[in-house]
């Protein structure tokens, strides 16, 4: 085992201080060390998008980051979006539009969509599809996912008028 490093990391607004081995992936840190199992581990090499989280405002793959690199940084995971009984708008839209089947890809889809909705106008469904193209859904339920994101973007456009 290599030397442990102490890191301070903020996850969904709460700051944690832990000692980690340098080779501990961020996704395993979130799931095993902090017990935040909402973030899913799929391919573990950056292809499937299931582990997507947001670091200081940008979506990233948590299987391609080491926890030690996140010292002093702020992370958002699916647990930060809403809670059972108090889902946020995007989560509600996913529920209403049947945008999850087995649910495995859902945390990654939600975090990628959150980044997209914050940063881009998403004027066409092609923009949504292109933005979500790095997230795989093995149930192939893409159409409903696009519709759920569209519903939220539609609302967003109306509320800013």
């Amino acid at each position: 085992m290599s030397k442990l490093h102490t890191i301070k990391i903020t996850v969904n607004g709460r700051t944690y201080e832990r000692s980690v081995e340098p080779r501990l992936l961020l996704v395993d840190f979130l799931r095993h060390t902090l017990g935040l199992t909402g973030t899913h581990v799929g391919c573990e090499h950056g292809v499937c998008g299931a582990c997507t989280i947001i670091v200081d405002g940008d979506s990233m793959r948590s299987c391609l980051l080491f926890a030690v690199q996140l010292n002093g940084r702020s992370v958002e995971t699916v647990e930060g979006l809403g809670r059972v009984g108090a889902l946020n708008k995007l989560q509600k839209a996913f529920q209403e539009h049947h945008a999850l089947q087995c649910g495995f890809c859902t945390p990654g889809m939600l975090m990628t969509a959150t980044d997209l909705i914050r940063k881009y106008p998403l004027t066409t469904d092609d923009d949504i599809r292109h933005g979500l193209s790095g997230n795989l859904c093995r149930c192939t339920g893409y159409q409903h996912i696009v519709e759920a994101v569209r519903a939220v973007v539609g609302e967003k456009a109306e509320s800013t008028k």
Binding site: L25, E44, R61, L65, T112
Partner: protein
């Protein structure tokens, strides 16, 4: 845990990074975005004793106008390059190509220097560096040197960087203001590595083509220039017959591989079709710019 054990050093500056590399005696790896390195570690294809993290060296993240060239720091993220006004102004071919590079979450983290020094044979950035005659700057504990892009890429995942050297920036000479350009690639899925891709820049002086450069990717162990095809175009006006000749010249210049995704013949065919498309687009854009 998936990756093999390693020690971790967060470099404070370039000097700190290259000294750590020198002390490790060839057994250290630089980690920037890690979007290619971490998969290789997760598969245990690499077992470095030390990872030198350069993410805190903010001096290496910049896109700067340098008169006759644009300089880009090695730690610049793909997303910054893709959305840079300066890049769109001088190198629209880069802006266009960047949207083909992987996916949003990868572009948010992956770096220019990482992509260039990783040198995947199907990656867009090494091809763009070759197309645009870029110069790369490498620093070690004993000094620094400049390497032309045409000498930098030596093979699949092999570049002219010594074990104690760090790629710090890339310098791209500006194109003539009325240059035309084109970029096209075919991949199996959006964001996948290219099965084949072609990029071109050219100028038109008094109605004839000059300074034409064509680069191809995905069809060899490194990006390559289509020099025969460039010669076909130089000094000519574009006609359907010439377009056919340039497309054949590009196709004949490659010896692609066959894999599960595409046969060598299909890749060669794509090079012909894509060359026709990008040369036509570049000719049209250069004429519009000159008008």
């Amino acid at each position: 845990m998936k990756p093999p054990p390693f020690d971790y050093v967060l470099a404070k500056n370039v000097e700190d990074a290259v000294l750590t590399l020198a002390h490790a005696g060839g057994d250290a790896k630089i980690i920037a975005g890690g979007q290619s390195l971490v998969p290789m570690l997760n598969f245990r294809l690499l077992k470095p004793s030390v990872l030198v993290d350069i993410n805190a060296i903010s001096d290496l993240s910049f896109i700067a106008d340098d008169g006759d060239a644009v300089r880009i720091g090695a730690l610049t993220r793909h997303r910054q390059l893709e959305t840079s006004q300066l890049i769109t102004q001088y190198f629209p071919v880069i802006t266009e190509a960047m949207s083909y590079v992987a996916h949003l979450a990868i572009r948010n983290r992956g770096t220019i220097g990482g992509s260039l020094s990783h040198a995947d044979p199907a990656a867009e950035l090494p091809m763009l560096a070759l197309l645009l005659d870029a110069e790369l700057q490498a620093v070690s504990s004993t000094g620094s040197r400049t390497i032309a892009a045409r000498d930098f890429f030596l093979g699949a995942l092999i570049v002219d960087l010594k074990e104690d050297e760090l790629l710090t920036e890339i310098r791209i000479p500006k194109l003539a203001p009325s240059s035309g350009w084109g970029f096209a690639e075919v991949a199996r899925r959006s964001g996948d590595f290219a099965l084949a891709g072609v990029a071109v820049t050219l100028s038109i002086t008094n109605g004839i083509i000059s300074s034409v450069r064509i680069a191809m990717v995905g069809v060899g162990d490194r990006p390559q220039r289509a020099t025969e095809a460039e010669t076909v175009l130089e000094g000519q006006r574009l006609t359907p017959a010439l377009l056919d000749r340039v497309s054949r010249a590009a196709r004949d210049a490659v010896t692609p591989h066959t894999d599960a995704h595409a046969s060598a013949d299909y890749r060669r065919h794509l090079i012909g079709v894509l060359t026709e498309r990008v040369v036509s687009a570049a000719w049209r854009r250069a004429n519009e710019a000159a008008a």
